[in-house]
């Protein structure tokens, strides 16, 4: 008989397991390198929580525009993003915040930089040209620019040292060449990697447990990955509630990757917010939720920026 189970995320954020793509599209070729049976692993938690840097970003379209040149009309956006790191341990704090603003113009059209004055401060919108035709693709450009910035922040933190774990939001785009390897934390499961038999283990994982490692390549970056349960679902929640997928570049040797997998599987539950706290609880971890709040604040008030942008466009028209 069919049973109904809850996906705890706020519907405004979509489902925690969601893909625009076909859910049955074939997974990439996956290798199972970790010795032992395919069964849940419960690592011993460390005595103290590690000092972690959670790296994340937020982005926003400030204004949709049209880029017009002769008969050509292309979509354009003015967008902003902010990236930063939430440090856990003592003191817990948000640091390394940077804010960037861009104009992305479609159809390969060019536009010079736009400087906007707001409350006596200059906001510089850096131009980027993109050979795309839809506003959605422009948004993906903005998104990937933010992701690049997150990666470069992770890299900077790794090189600077001080973090035992660097956990980046979303799939890994950076290998971690510094002293500490960066890991990716994937909140939303959009792609199936495991064969149906191994997939069954996901529903059986307890809090603090992880699957054995598996290895695959994505975007030309070979990586180790594993699933871990960071919060106990309620009986009415679905099997996938409270599950995250982690990955780390396979530049790490297998032993190194296992240690990181063990450390995250045993410590991440400490950072998981209860279901009622956040729209994307528990996968949106405490430090990440707070970081996003602060980053959104740093983007500035959208209505004010929109007016400032419009006023700048008036100026260029008459100016």
């Amino acid at each position: 008989m069919t049973v109904l189970r809850v996906d705890p995320w706020d519907p405004d954020y979509g489902a925690s397991i969601e893909s625009d793509e076909d859910p049955d599209r074939p997974p990439p070729p996956v290798e199972y390198d970790e010795p032992g049976p395919w069964a849940a692993i419960r690592p011993e938690p460390p005595d103290e929580l590690p000092r972690c840097a959670f790296v994340d970003g937020v982005r926003r379209v400030d204004l949709h525009m049209f880029a017009e040149e002769g008969d050509v009309v292309a979509p354009a956006i003015a967008g902003s993003w902010a990236v930063g790191a939430a440090w856990t341990g003592q003191p817990a704090q948000v640091a390394d915040v940077r804010v960037r603003r861009v104009i992305v113009v479609g159809n390969g059209l060019d536009h010079p930089a736009l400087t906007v004055m707001l409350a006596g401060q200059k906001l510089d919108y850096v131009p980027r040209s993109a050979p795309v035709r839809t506003p959605r693709d422009l948004l993906l450009r903005l998104q990937s620019a933010m992701r690049d910035d997150e990666a470069s922040l992770s890299e900077a933190i790794a090189e600077r040292g001080g973090a035992e774990l660097i956990i980046q939001d979303g799939p890994l785009t950076y290998t971690g060449r510094g002293r500490a390897p960066a890991m990716g934390l994937i909140k939303r499961q959009t792609q199936r990697y495991l064969d149906p038999v191994r997939q069954r283990l996901l529903g059986e994982l307890d809090v603090g447990q992880r699957t054995p490692l598996f290895r695959f390549e994505s975007r030309e970056l070979p990586r180790y990955s594993w699933y871990a349960r960071i919060a106990t679902p309620r009986p009415i929640d679905g099997k996938m509630a409270g599950l995250v997928r982690m990955e780390v570049g396979s530049g790490q040797d297998l032993d190194g990757a296992r240690k990181l997998a063990d450390l995250t599987a045993s410590t991440l539950p400490a950072f998981a917010a209860p279901m009622w706290r956040d729209s994307r609880s528990p996968q949106n971890l405490y430090p990440v939720g707070q970081l996003e709040t602060i980053l959104r604040n740093r983007l500035g008030e959208r209505d004010l920026i929109r007016r400032a942008l419009e006023s700048a466009l008036w100026t260029t028209m008459h100016g």
């Binding site: 929580l49 970081l291 709040t293």
Partner: protein, 593 residues
């Protein structure tokens, strides 16, 4: 007993006035004005009050004096000064109470924000413009602080005590001496509010600083000692005064000594022919006081024995004033007997009235005889009510009126001109007698001043338990005199320093006529009453927590009360504090004097 100090702690059962909390900054640092934060933008600023975000490495506490300079377009710079009346701290971006645990475990990064609310005290120049977010706020010292609190514009300033951070606080003398205002009113719970002690500290500051200038010599004070014997030692230094206390007097620029010129008067002991002062712990240096039958009749003192407000008060008051005027009209002096009188017996004969009892008997007989001069058209019931009260008065205040047994009456008549401070003890007397003494003394003073026609020299009257003498409800001759002082005393040079536990029980006009209002520890429910409207919401809460030796002082210049602490009394307030070297009783004497 209300010596003003908590009777619980201390070696002799007294709580020492606590040290003001001082931050552990160096002297040099605390003498400079320092930037402590900025006007914040999440709360709106107004010209009258504003919020400051406090820098991470700085602090602001209640009562700190701050200054912000803001730029006003086309007008230039504006300096806005104020006093901190609220400080708060919290996590920014925290949504749940339990977030604090996560933050301290290092799981949830939450910034701490500290802010302070400031009430404007002064704008220079007077442009009613709010400060702007981002303007730098300084905690000020020296001249900036004096300007903020308007101390710089006080021509003559009376030392009122120390602020929490050890700076001087002043009262504008022109609001005390009648030029622009007069009278002080002090409220607070007995025992912890230190009302009387603070009132005497104000007197000490008046008489032992240079604020009065040449006027000091002729300025007088009459202090009624209503409870305990605390005020009977004003002329003796306090042996328990420590070095820290002396340092506070030094800081204030006041000497640490006893009052210089003090006369202490106590009622004569009942039942003895000799005029021995009726006091317990101290008798040396105290003069017994009484009045004579002649004074009583000539000066119309009878009314002050009828000071209870009652239903039939108007009828009784009518009889009282008839009796007073008939007696005065008929009285003839007795040659060779300055304390007694010849009075008519109502049947055409004169009799020699030799004692207060004789006088009461004479009045009684004439009233029982329905003497029309005395009873007028009063009902029989009124006349008997009058007689009942006269009988009571005779029992309770009779010993204060002497006749032919009066020994040297001129020496025992209270002479408040003889010393700078005259302490009149009434604490052992029955309530009726207390009102009688206060009424007679104050009335006499009032008449003297009225006759002199000049407001100089000033006379200060210190009277605790105002609720007994001028209760909110009802009428009495006592209340009338006090109301007269509060309304006309300013122009006549009579300044009332009144105190009571609860201002809500005292005649409204007496409280509202006081230019300087002070509260010590208040009961929380009392603090919420409209009589304390000059206290902000915060100040009302604080009034419930004030320690002995700490008061909230409101004066007309400033929109909010200032917290003021004052040093432990330099004069003794009980026998155990009397300095042994100056004690009249030698510690080596075998038998007590």
């Amino acid at each position: 007993m209300d010596n003003g100090h908590d009777p619980e702690a201390g070696p002799d059962g007294r709580e020492q006035i606590p040290e003001p909390a001082r931050p552990s900054t160096s002297v040099e640092a605390s003498d400079r004005s320092v930037p402590v934060g900025m006007i914040l933008g999440t709360e709106k600023s107004s010209p009258l009050d504003w919020w400051v975000a406090v820098s991470a490495d700085q602090y602001l506490q209640l009562d700190d004096v701050v200054l912000v300079r803001t730029h006003v377009p086309s007008q230039g710079d504006l300096s806005i000064s104020g006093v901190v009346d609220q400080v708060r701290a919290g996590h920014e971006g925290s949504r749940f109470e339990s977030d604090v645990f996560l933050s301290s475990q290092g799981v949830l990064p939450l910034p701490v924000a500290r802010s302070a609310h400031v009430v404007t005290t002064r704008l220079e120049p007077e442009l009613w413009v709010p400060p702007t977010p981002g303007d730098v706020v300084l905690r000020v010292r020296g001249l900036d602080r004096e300007q903020a609190l308007h101390f710089d514009s006080m021509e003559q300033r009376l030392i009122a005590g120390l602020s929490r951070d050890g700076q001087s606080i002043f009262i504008d003398l022109s609001f005390l001496d009648g030029r622009r205002g007069a009278h002080v009113n002090i409220s607070g719970i007995s025992g912890v509010a230190t009302k009387t002690t603070y009132a005497t500290f104000i007197l000490y500051s008046l008489f032992h600083s240079s604020v009065l200038g040449p006027r000091a010599a002729n300025t007088k004070a009459i202090v009624f000692n209503v409870k305990g014997e605390d005020l009977l030692y004003l002329d003796l230094p306090n042996a328990n005064l420590g070095d820290k206390d002396r340092a506070k007097y030094d800081l204030l620029g006041l000497p640490h000594a006893a009052f210089g010129s003090v006369g202490i008067w106590a009622p004569v002991r009942p039942g003895t022919a000799e005029a021995i002062p009726d006091t317990g712990s101290r008798q040396q240096g105290i003069r017994g006081y009484f009045w004579t039958v002649r004074d009583f009749v000539r000066e119309g003192m009878l009314r002050f024995m009828f000071t209870e407000a009652g239903d039939e008060r108007s009828q009784i008051a009518d009889v009282v004033s008839r009796v007073e005027s008939v007696l005065r009209r008929e009285a003839d002096d007795v040659p060779g007997s300055p304390a007694t009188l010849f009075l008519g017996d109502g049947r055409g004969d004169k009799v020699h009235v030799k004692s207060f009892k004789d006088l009461c008997d004479l009045i009684e007989h004439r009233i029982e005889d329905q003497d029309p001069d005395l009873v007028g058209h009063s009902a029989r019931g009124t006349a008997s009510a009058f007689l009942r009260r006269l009988e009571g008065a005779q029992a309770q205040c009779g010993h204060l009126i002497k006749g032919s047994d009066a020994d040297n009456p001129a020496d025992h008549r209270i002479d408040w001109q003889a010393s700078q401070v005259s302490v009149i003890d009434i604490h052992n007397l029955h309530d009726r007698a207390k009102r009688f003494v206060v009424g007679v003394v104050v009335k006499r003073l009032f008449e003297d001043k009225e006759a002199s026609g000049s407001s100089q020299p000033l006379v200060f009257i210190v009277l605790d338990e105002l609720n007994k003498y001028a209760p909110r409800e009802g009428w009495s001759p006592m209340k009338e005199v006090l109301l007269d002082i509060s309304e006309r005393g300013r122009s006549m040079g009579i300044i009332l320093i009144g105190a009571q536990q609860t201002a809500s029980e005292v005649e409204r006009r007496i409280v509202s006529n006081a230019a300087i209002r002070i509260v010590g520890r208040l009961d929380q429910a009392e603090a919420m009453r409209p009589e304390y409207g000059f206290l902000s919401e915060n100040a009302r809460q604080r009034a419930g927590l004030l320690k002995p030796g700490t008061m909230l002082l409101q004066q007309p210049h400033l929109p909010m009360p200032l917290e003021v602490t004052f040093p432990f009394p330099a004069w003794a307030t009980r026998s155990s504090e009397v300095h042994q070297t100056t004690s009249r009783r030698s510690p080596f004497a075998k038998t007590p004097a």
